[in-house]
């Protein structure tokens, strides 16, 4: 048979527009009085209030990070009986995958209104040394493949990213000072955000003289460990028109993976964002030059640099120059204002940050970002990176006119 099968044609004809209509941030970044599910419940309630919805409107629920059936337990806690559930658990980018799957499900009519929820009191519960307590598993734990090969080497989570950064430096001459500049520019945004964990301005020299955790990454190349919760509510374009805020449209989404453990990353200078980005951008009908702000999972400075290249904001190998050019392209005055809330590097990182990226991008497109507002922002990209640069998820958001 020539051409598209008939089913695909009729399928496309019923696709509905999908909008983010509610965002909720919990208290933070330090909340010793709140446990993880309390943070989730608080951000959920705030997202409902933000949207002007009641919990009975929520038909679908997504969450991740706490093992099997967490979203089911959370539904019970919140008093929900959802008929659409999602628990893709692919590390910090899980929530870009949740948004992508919710987008498709709403688009195709499976469900109308979905909440994505995450919260973690990682700082208050576990302290500040996570990420350097070993590459995976722990004392006495049975290690799943491939961690039974990695863990006995003494590699840490930070070390895995450091190894990738080292390879980029080797291949392209990327300088630690260029990585440091990412932390410096992100801190400038944090200085404008009362909710950020660290707000005092820092210099490249401050980053370079901060303690090396795993060469070439210094302490200030690493994200903070905080408490915090976040919730996002998505619904149909039709419903969104009646709700409280200017709807933010999902325009495209894609994800992928290249490996689990860092040793299996065939090319440590190229992530699955090189596939997910172009796919999501094509669906949205945009190019990198159209993007007004970027919410990027900055687990480490290198994560930002490599994904800037993979998404096409800079040619491969030139991410270092891109971040420092033009007086700093990640600044509000730069070509691509990035992590305008202060990012994981300075604002909030409670175990996983993916959902907070979508929240900040939404705030920007609504024009609600306060002192960090990107003037006239119409198109934003939220991009999550999970595991050891393992999983990448890209979500393109736009205003109604964009």
């Amino acid at each position: 048979m020539d051409g598209e099968p008939p089913r695909a044609a009729s399928f496309a004809a019923v696709q509905r527009g999908v909008c983010i209509v509610g965002v909720g941030l919990s208290d933070g970044p330090v909340t010793p009085e709140l446990d993880a599910v309390m943070l989730e419940a608080q951000s959920f309630r705030r997202a409902l209030d933000d949207a002007g919805l009641e919990k009975g409107d929520i038909q679908g629920l997504a969450s991740a990070g706490y093992g099997g059936m967490h979203e089911v337990a959370l539904a019970e806690y919140l008093g929900l009986t959802p008929r659409w559930l999602e628990s893709s658990s692919v590390g910090g980018s899980s929530f870009e995958f949740h948004a992508m799957h919710a987008y498709r499900a709403i688009q195709n009519g499976d469900v109308d209104t979905v909440a994505i929820v995450y919260g973690n009191n990682q700082l208050s519960a576990s302290g500040r040394t996570l990420g350097t307590g070993g590459g995976g598993g722990g004392r006495g734990m049975s290690l799943p493949l491939p961690m039974s090969y990695e863990f006995p080497t003494g590699l840490t989570l930070v070390g895995a990213y450091a190894m990738a950064a080292q390879r980029h430096m080797h291949e392209f001459g990327t300088k630690p000072e260029q990585l440091a500049s990412i932390a410096v520019q992100t801190r400038e945004h944090a200085a404008r955000n009362p909710r950020a964990m660290y707000r005092d301005p820092i210099t490249v020299d401050d980053v370079m003289t901060s303690r090396l955790v795993a060469d070439p990454l210094h302490k200030l190349d690493c994200c903070v460990i905080s408490d915090g919760g976040c919730c996002l509510v998505l619904t149909t374009e039709e419903r969104a028109r009646d709700l409280a805020h200017r709807p933010v449209y999902v325009r495209g989404a894609a994800g992928g993976t290249t490996h689990h453990s860092i040793a299996a990353m065939a090319d440590m200078t190229r992530t699955a964002a090189a596939v997910s980005g172009p796919k999501a951008f094509a669906e949205a009908g945009i190019t990198p030059a159209d993007v007004d702000m970027f919410a990027m999972y900055d687990s480490f400075t290198y994560t930002v640099l490599v994904v800037l290249e993979d998404l096409g904001f800079a040619p491969k190998g030139e991410g270092g120059a891109f971040v420092t050019d033009n007086g700093g392209n990640l600044r509000l005055s730069g070509a691509l204002p990035t992590n305008t809330d202060g990012g994981g590097l300075s604002c909030t990182h409670p175990g996983m940050r993916g959902l907070f990226l979508l929240c900040e991008a939404t705030r920007q497109l609504r024009g609600e970002a306060g002192d960090s507002q990107v003037a006239g922002a119409e198109i934003a990209v939220a991009h999550g990176s999970g595991g050891w640069l393992s999983t990448q998820g890209t979500v393109v958001l736009g205003t109604e006119g964009a």
Binding site: G134, Y149, T153, G159, M163, Q166, H170, A214, P216
Partner: protein, 144 residues
């Protein structure tokens, strides 16, 4: 040198626990042999051991003994690790090593390499470290 504190004392919880597929690797390392899988269909090698070839997907794997030589694809110097015994070994080098056998890549500690001497592209050679009576870990050291 900075690195290379005592890596011979391996606590029980860190001992290899071979599964159904990878006993050959751990026992080989205990004998001082780097045992990897070779695919007779595509000709490539792989580590860690699996039941099918991660390159071509076929189940035509045989065990071979690698020469033990390789090249550092990348490395890091671990300067913070809170888990004993690693916290007593700081700082130390961990590398991703491409074996000379095409397709096989390993992550390994390099306890004998001074952090200041580690380089991407350096030639390295497998060094075996006993883990109990039966098994071993495969480290790498600078090739001469």
């Amino acid at each position: 040198m900075d690195g290379g504190n005592d890596w011979s004392d391996i606590p029980k919880w860190l001992m290899p626990r071979p599964g159904l597929v990878d006993r050959e690797f751990w026992e080989g390392a205990g004998r001082g042999e780097l045992r990897i899988q070779h695919c007779t269909t595509c000709g490539k090698h792989q580590h860690y051991p699996r039941t099918l070839c991660s390159h071509c997907g076929e189940q035509t794997l045989e065990w071979v003994t690698a020469g033990g030589d390789g090249t550092v694809y990348s490395f890091t110097v671990i300067r913070q690790n809170g888990v004993p015994p690693f916290n007593e070994r700081l700082p130390f080098v961990v590398a991703t090593v491409d074996l000379d056998e095409p397709g096989a890549r390993m992550i390994a500690a390099m306890p004998q390499v001074d952090p200041a001497d580690a380089r991407v592209g350096m030639r390295v050679r497998a060094a075996f470290r006993r883990a109990g009576d039966e098994y071993g870990f495969v480290d790498f050291a600078a090739a001469d």
